[in-house]
Symmetry: C2
Subunit: 253 residues, 2 copies
DNA sequence: CGTGACGTTGAAGAAGGTCAACCAATGTGG
DNA sequence: CCACATTGGTTGACCTTCTTCAACGTCACG
């Protein structure tokens, strides 16, 4: 865990709030960025594309995520960031993050770790588009989102807001819109899940987990000692979880 | 760039050398690791899989790469590491890396950056399996490897060692062995590239780049000021490139 | 000179893409 | 309040890519 002082350093980070319309880029490909983006509200996609113009969403970020924390050490953007639905984003200057990290090595480690959880999710995403069929891939995506949103999956059936279009789901899974549409219908007909423009209704969580071949370990959620940095909204009131096996690099060995 | 003192700290890292046979895991899924693996020789794959057992290579590492540097901040392995061909690996204790990072913030930043270059490669890998057909995907993979190996692509035709099997290429691209075989034949018949068990012979680099829709920007190679950490073999004699826009977090503002 | 690992090929079929409609909901300007 | 445009969802017909299964070839090695 971070010390109270380290928490303060994190919470005291300055930033300006911007509102982004759906389908609007707020980090452009190749751009040199000076701010990291903390998602305060809405959903954000990390977009890549090939030169033929077909797009691929490589990550989905939600409130509490630092969508491009990596830009602190790599300011040349290799992916774009675009709002999937209306989003509120807090732009935090790299400068401030760097100086906080320099003062508090444990914080630097927590930031690095946070990036690595995202990287583990990227690796799973590769498996999802590379080695799962459409049905499994979509089911897996829904499971991942549910767990990351910390929806209570105890009950057999539940709902959570997830305002994305079928076109965006297609970009996330590497499928076409038409095939996503048919596959969602199949999931519906099998009584696993129903998806509208605004929310996901899970009817059979166990079944969805099986269909999606979902193993939540990679999300690093159970283990609170090594969990991900997560600043939950309202942003300036609570750090939910921040951690490292050692309190600080100096103190650990 | 790192200062001479920081370079020394990096070079002075202790480690034991191990030799790994082809197809042998040296980091197991779910395992708790205490060492980071610096590849000294050979090729290494980062392996993930779904429960049905079909495997997916999510990254390929080569000499000079720290294949699981991320384990320093996230010791629970979410992917396995396996040698693609005989490999020599230097195992560096996390402890040593942590303490060097604590002493030298600029080094900590360089390590973090190195991880983020790998993450950018992961994102491109998603595009490769999600939005490219077999021909394009294999061509892109070959281009990426050539550039990362720092092969001189100036000449129209050239060779470089790349000892992988077609089965491994299939796991890397999310295809089947059979389809990889047919697609490689197509690349050969089109006069782009010939691949044997030991090496890749590129006959038409420009054509291969076009076929693979390859844009090397994400590899962060041109820009020496922000390039990746790369400890080239013989490991303890040379740091080729290490960097950051600022010399250190402290010295930055 | 067998045995295993790797590569190659053919035939058949399934998963997913492409093209082209059409529908429903929402918003906007006259 | 209506005509119209826009966005997102749905469906059918057809076609391509890739997979599956099964066989056979080839090379290295004990």
């Amino acid at each position: 865990m971070l010390t109270r002082e380290e928490e303060r350093a994190l919470l005291d980070l300055p930033g300006e709030t911007i509102t982004v319309r759906a389908n609007q880029d707020f980090v452009h490909l190749g751009e040199r960025v000076e701010h990291a983006c903390l998602i305060a509200d809405g959903l954000v996609g990390r977009f890549d594309q090939n030169r033929q113009g077909s797009r691929q969403i490589t990550a989905i970020h939600m409130p509490g995520d630092m969508a491009d924390l990596h830009s602190v050490v790599q300011p040349q953007a290799t992916s774009a960031l675009q709002a999937l639905s209306v989003a509120t984003v807090l732009r935090i200057p790299h400068k401030a993050i760097r100086s906080a990290a320099a003062k508090h090595p444990a914080l630097a480690e927590a930031l690095w770790r946070d990036c690595m959880v995202d990287a583990a999710i990227l690796a799973q995403w590769i498996v999802n588009v590379g080695r799962r069929d459409a049905r499994s891939s979509l089911a897996h995506l829904l499971c991942e989102i549910a767990v990351r949103l910390e929806v209570d999956v105890g009950a057999g059936a539940f709902c959570f807001p997830f305002p994305v279009t079928q076109a965006q789901l297609a970009d996330a899974t590497g499928l076409t819109i038409v095939h996503v549409n048919r596959t969602l219908r199949a999931l519906r007909e099998d009584g696993l899940s129903e998806i509208t423009r605004q929310e996901v209704r899970v009817l059979d969580w166990e079944g969805l987990v099986r269909a999606g071949d979902f193993e939540p370990g990679y999300l690093q959620r159970e283990n609170t000692v090594e969990g991900r940095l997560r600043i939950v909204p309202p942003v300036d009131q609570l750090i939910q979880l921040v951690a490292g096996p050692m309190t600080s690099w100096e103190r650990g060995h």
